[in-house]
Assembly symmetry: C3
Homo-oligomer: 655 residues x 3
């Protein structure tokens, strides 16, 4: 199968979404000049171009795209070609209202924005296949083409009637019989027993709480329907260009797609990444997404979209201060990206995203944004040969599963203060601050290569996942589990005792009497630290090797943290420093060391291949002590003993 | 007519909702063992069992219920049998979309939750009557059956077309002529005059503010339609079992039902009660609901549902700390409950309420929850013979009326900081903190038995209610009225002068110039205390015996509190301590004493029959001085002089 | 053309909305007595009387209105007669559902409130024309009639199908071709290209962000449709009474109508004004609306509605403290009003606005409200001959344009903390606090009469507007521009460089690198003051005469304020005192002086004709030094040297 290497050909791709249809042709030539000047090597064409290519049903206008493709080829710039199916032309909704999604309250999602297509609409899928077929046929042999990009940020739901029919098909395939569905959904409660498949519906607006397993299956269904849309188009382009890789771009840590499953269907895993420049933990947000994307890709991956400056969809949209775009781009490379791309090349003058920055901002060539983009292009060109295609290594795996997220996110639950991504972020942050490089893994993946496995929270664990965790510990691995893990089975059935019995045994827990969720802002005292969000009334079974107790309050003396051999259970969220220190100690015991010792807090260190990336997230310069002499690929200078990083500066060091 | 005594037969009922259809039959036998061990004497069956009993339209499957009924009978456990009509099976909405309610914006409430039935649907009512008929016929002679439970927490609205037709019927019955309706609704304003009954609609989503009397009548209509649903089923079961009492469970202090009217149609008044264990005034919330329910029942009542631990529908759901379930249960008994029941017996593993606690929690028999449930069962068995069927007495009546609540809650009103239940709570709290036992009463009830009547706020007062209050004071009663009382008549017509003229005269008010509502968090200085929420620019007529003035600000020197004979008017909400002290003084003048003198703040004292209940709401032990020797029924020991209550402890003392 | 003078006939009109249909006829006579006692000279009849006049389709009942008109005439009270078309009778929606608007999510706006008419409905317009025709024919010759009032507070939107058809007509008229529409809307982005007019829709609920130019055109369309409704009725009444002026009442600073365009179609400009009595800047809010209305009227205008006390639509509705109604009414006169009117004469007892105050409150004749209304009536009678018809003068014009407001208010924009009316208020406040009298003007108006022009923010500027500003400065004018000005062209296309190039040149800006919007509550240090809401990364071109730099942070040393000749650019919002001082200095340089020097902060001074109004907004008395002897028309006394104003007091001084 083709992969990212077939597109990169040994160099880091650099570029972005290019929407020449928004500009007069004279601007295209100016664009090429500026692209070359900035070191751009790749552009993504065709996203949202459907109405241009098919202005009326069945018509085709490829002429303009031919010209752009040729222009790119002449300029030596590779093309990522997108199928335009994320935004059907107005005629589609007008002629075929069945292609428009309905929300859970029955409201239509109209054209006039984007992504107003029903994943379940046969009509939509037919049109999408046809345009994909013609696009692939036309450009299969074009020399500029390097990678296919299917659709864009798949993210639609549909509660309408055609989706309902597809949902029933999907449920039949999953549960086979109505009896099995009734059992899985627990329909004996609240008189929800289904006597006929025709009665089964998407979870539409009810009088009171929805059935949570119905909602869970609807989320699975939605991810699968979108995936069907993807694979249908992928299979078409693959037929035309079996030698070229195919991707679709994920939104970072987004609830709608089970990206573990999706990644298996992609030749290249790509993601869009937009941390807030004003978020004090923006760099860690980036690291998390990068680690997860790399883990899904099992190697180099593609940063399909980032912003050169501000985005347009926050309440207040801050620009990137000088140096930040470069720093965060190098961070992506450090964490495995072989492509650094933007939405978009040239900032729009019109439309809903005209206040989203571009590589060429409204200020144009003279603007700071483009100047910094150009500097970064030169940097990437310099380090590219040493980096592209190389892998990093991580001693820690953090477990994440969309099914668990979906199930845990139900309406009526112990605490709305606790959420899956929040727990992922909190635990990843502790590891990131401890300079421990992390992969992400699915709970049923082979974990044996990792000395340490961390489970921030997996509310839902399949039997196979429980087996896997137990086998991992039996095999010598060290496991740290946060609270609310192993509560439910695959159908969101609470396991007897409120937590899987084998897991309780693993940690030395006899009885989980009660959960004691904490209010927003409340903390609970434990021996040596304070916990937030959660606490538990646990009764140990006497087999644990050590416990850290709660202190004071209703849980005084009960275990907050249990350790039994290499298995740890943490029944609260320790304050950040305490969690970092706890994980540092456990990691050390498991033989996992930080990337570098003695690093200043503001410096991130990552190894990729034989290179050491140092990233200064601070606004002040900082000096870092190095273990021996290195060569800095960015400056071309040798450094020994210590290296000084400017504000938002970076070093890419070869030993 | 049968009553609660026919179900209790002299002992306090103890048990809860039992949903065996969620569990395999082997669990049923385990359940019986645990029930007997816990002292359970009653279970409620059949709530939400419609789809199980009638899996397809017209079919019946009673076999499983026969077996459960028999099993309960063999175990000596009485059965409260519910009609299953609160949650129609999926086939009903599928085959009969006319049974689904529409909200005010036209959105359908779909099946997949519960209570997705239109109270106005003839189809729904026909099916409900049929299943009720068959259920009653089948179990009329079953020896386990002790009480009928109709539906569950009636609480649905419907703005749809069939409801619109029923609304018109209801309005015809109320107003007789269109002219009368136009007059009552004040349709001369904003060009709303109706020329044909067909034009009259439920108050659907408008461009701007709704007609408040239309909304008021719609709330009355909704309560009446739900009541029709109830009485239709009640009459069916009563025909089969004239000797057995009938109830339906209220939600506590819920806006949707005029419970004064409903209670008249019930043989047993029952309520569901779920104070937040973390609410510092949770115990007072309980006392309020218990006082109101007892007043509606005019004697012993049934606590149909409470939680043994956490609920599942708050943002953060806290468990009950050790002892709290027992304490709050004994509080209900102290305030007149002859039945202490839970939702539900065994905590669900599936569905929307699986995180709502049960008497048997996910932790099972070993869990703290079940252990405490068992202790309470023994306590209740011990005090039961001395308590069941006895009455308490209260010297204070607090007036409450749903019509006033409904009318006062209109969109465009003087202040959204002021709300009816908030005022009830604030005034009841002051009385509760003063250890003054309170009944609730409707403003048209005979009040002559109460030395003191308190009106926190009755925005709407009928002419008859005003007559009643005046007669009460003339008859020697002491009346304390909060602000915004007597503003509107039965049709929400503002009375001339902004407050009923006879009431103004009663208090010595010449002119109510202006209301001065306060902003959130704002207070106003009065002589000796600060007031919140409200103040008034009042001009006294010189006949008042005493006034307490405002101090400073725009109202400096104007009367904040007026007293004229035994009639008091309080034009602000005094801070809690001031209101407590004021009511204590007025009560003393009226000859109403606290239950005990010198009680610590954290201790609640209630008399029922000849028993004195002492309840320690504090987390620390506390000693209470007693007036003479007593026998503590809970411990079986004699106490003299003083009794010490453990943390969350209680004593049930016989002199 | 007739004007306000034809209605006032040399005296200030005093009165309010009168809705006798809400009251029995005996009350009408009481009303007349109280009106005369209060000095009322005018009432507005017929607003919301449609159902009364046309109780069934095509019927007419004018008898009651005849009697009221006659009664008014006998009492010497003039009548402003309203067409009743703001609230169709229930029969209309019932018989003609096509007259009901749909919101952007497809929900119907039902009758039961008011303004439930679609501006695009041919049926509605037909009925509205018919009732207007008959009303005008009947009362054309009535001696009481002085002014026509069309509809009331036009403010409805409609996303329904008939509106969609009208929107397409409107777009055809504006853009002529689909190509032009596609170009204007930038439909090349997101695949929104329209191939057929039938595909074009109002901006209905999309999956993601709407097209901002589609939204902008929809707002223009809405304003124009409403204007069509207005002019259709105006033309009818004008045909019957060419000698009488016509108005419709604006809501103050409301987004829905381009009041510059509307004012051109009115003989009298009138407005409704409801500052919050508790708003510390309520008086300035009043001044702003009054200045804007006077500018739209180009002379005397009509205060159609204000509240004598509280309104009913805020969360907490505060009454007016003693004196405030009089003070704010005199302020309106000072700023050009020749009519001081209220909603409404007698406070309603029923309906959605019964808690909105009236000139006669619920407390009636004895109430403070009516007493103060009566005092004011006498005051107005006293000053009326000296004031009515006179004009004020302003040295400063503040520019405002609805198109810019509409465009700037788009969903995805740099900062949601920044909004057009907020900027207007902040800049007007600084001028008001500096005692500089201001007009408002449209950016394409002739500005040459103003020494100083202030642009708080004009995000959208047409080419003609830019021309106008440049010509103004070239002609010797002084221009001060706030940030986010000149960003977009008429179709919301961002101008190259992010700000019009000629404007950049005017201020000496080479490159606008980035906008740096600030978070809520955040400030940025500048030389000598702190700025809020916004900052900019600007590169000066070296031609500016002076700049004030940012200090510290990312923008350290870059220009915050630039001055080049008489053109100033302010790239942040200076803190209030700094903005006031800056504008005072610039005004002084431009030869514009405060109304009086040395005024206390709490005193507002305004000149109208040869009169000087002094208004004490403070709660304490204050003394004001006067330039020479004056005669106070309110007290009839001569004052020299200084005058003392009571709390909320006023003086109207003739030199």
């Amino acid at each position: 199968m083709p992969g990212l290497g077939d597109a990169t050909r040994g160099r880091i791709l650099y570029g972005g979404d290019y929407n020449p249809e928004q500009w007069p042709e004279e601007t295209w030539h100016e664009d090429v000049r500026l692209m070359r000047q900035a070191g751009v090597t790749t552009v993504t064409l065709g996203v949202f171009s459907w109405a241009r290519i098919e202005p009326r049903p069945g018509e085709r206008d490829f002429g303009w795209l031919d010209r752009v493709m040729d222009l790119m080829h002449e300029a030596g710039i590779g093309v990522v070609l997108a199928t335009p199916t994320a935004s059907p032309p107005p005629w589609m909704g007008h002629l075929h209202p069945d292609t428009l999604p309905r929300d859970e309250e029955g409201r239509t999602e109209w054209w006039g924005g984007r992504q107003h297509f029903s994943h379940s609409s046969a009509t939509y899928r037919r049109y999408a296949a046809a345009i994909t077929e013609d696009l692939a046929a036309r450009y299969a042999g074009h020399p500029a083409l390097t990678l296919w990009h299917i659709n864009n940020e798949y993210c639609t739901y549909d509660w309408g009637d055609e989706a309902a029919a597809r949902f029933r098909d999907w449920l039949r395939a999953r549960h086979e019989t109505l009896d099995a569905l009734n059992a899985a959904w627990g329909t004996a409660f609240w008189s929800q027993g289904y006597g006929d498949w025709a009665e089964v519906m998407p979870p539409r607006h009810p009088h009171y709480l929805k059935n949570p397993t119905q909602v869970l299956d609807f989320k699975r269904f939605t991810s699968d329907m979108l995936l069907e849309c993807y694979t249908a188009e992928r299979d078409i382009v693959r037929r035309h260009t079996p030698h070229l890789p195919v991707t679709t771009n994920f939104m970072p840590l987004w609830a709608g797609q089970d990206a573990w499953r999706w990644a298996e269907e992609e030749d290249v895993v790509s993601v869009d990444l937009y941390p807030d420049p004003r978020d004090p933990f923006g760099a860690q947000e980036g690291a998390l997404v990068q680690d997860m994307t790399r883990s899904q890709a099992r190697g180099p991956w593609m940063l399909m979209e980032q912003a050169a400056g501000a985005v347009n969809w926050r309440g207040v949209n801050h620009p990137k201060p000088r140096g930040l775009n470069r720093l965060w781009s190098l961070q992506a490379v450090a964490r495995g990206a072989d492509a650094v791309c933007y939405f978009q090349w040239r900032q729009s003058r019109q439309g809903a995203e005209k206040f989203h920055s571009g590589m060429v901002s409204h200020a144009g060539e003279r603007g700071r944004t483009y100047q910094e983009v150009t500097r970064l292009g030169a940097d990437l060109a310099r380090i590219s040969p040493h980096v592209a295609g190389t892998h990093g290594t991580a001693g820690v795996a953090v477990l994440h599963d969309w099914n668990s997220w979906w199930a845990g996110d139900q309406e009526a639950r112990p605490s709305h203060e606790v959420d899956h991504p929040g727990m992922l972020r909190a635990w990843h942050r502790a590891l990131w601050q401890a300079h421990l490089t992390t992969d992400f893994a699915h709970p049923e993946h082979d974990l044996s290569g990792y000395p340490l496995v961390v489970v921030p929270q997996l509310y839902l664990l399949t039997d196979a996942a429980v087996d896997n965790l137990l086998a991992y510990v039996r095999g010598g691995g060290t496991l740290v589990c946060g609270f609310l893990t192993g509560v439910a089975d695959e159908d969101d059935r609470v396991r007897p005792g409120g937590m899987d019995a084998r897991l309780r045994d693993l940690f030395g827990i006899r009885t989980l009497h009660e959960w004691w969720p904490l209010d927003a802002g409340e903390t609970v005292a434990c021996e040596g630290f304070r916990g937030a969000l959660w606490s538990e009334e646990l009764e140990a079974d006497g087999t644990a090797d050590a416990t850290t107790p709660y202190r004071g309050g209703e849980l005084d003396g009960l275990p907050a943290v249990l350790r039994k051999g290499r298995a740890w259970y943490v029944s609260t969220l320790p304050e950040p420093g305490a969690l970092r220190d706890l994980l540092t100690r456990i990691a050390a015991d498991a033989g996992v060391r930080p990337v570098l010792d003695g690093l200043p807090d503001q410096v991130e260190a990552v190894r990729r291949g034989d290179l050491l990336f140092l990233l200064n997230h601070g606004r002040e310069p900082v000096a870092v002590d190095l273990p021996g002499p290195h060569h800095d690929l960015l400056t071309g200078t040798d450094v020994t003993g210590r290296v000084t990083l400017e504000r938002h500066g970076a070093a890419v060091l070869r030993p």
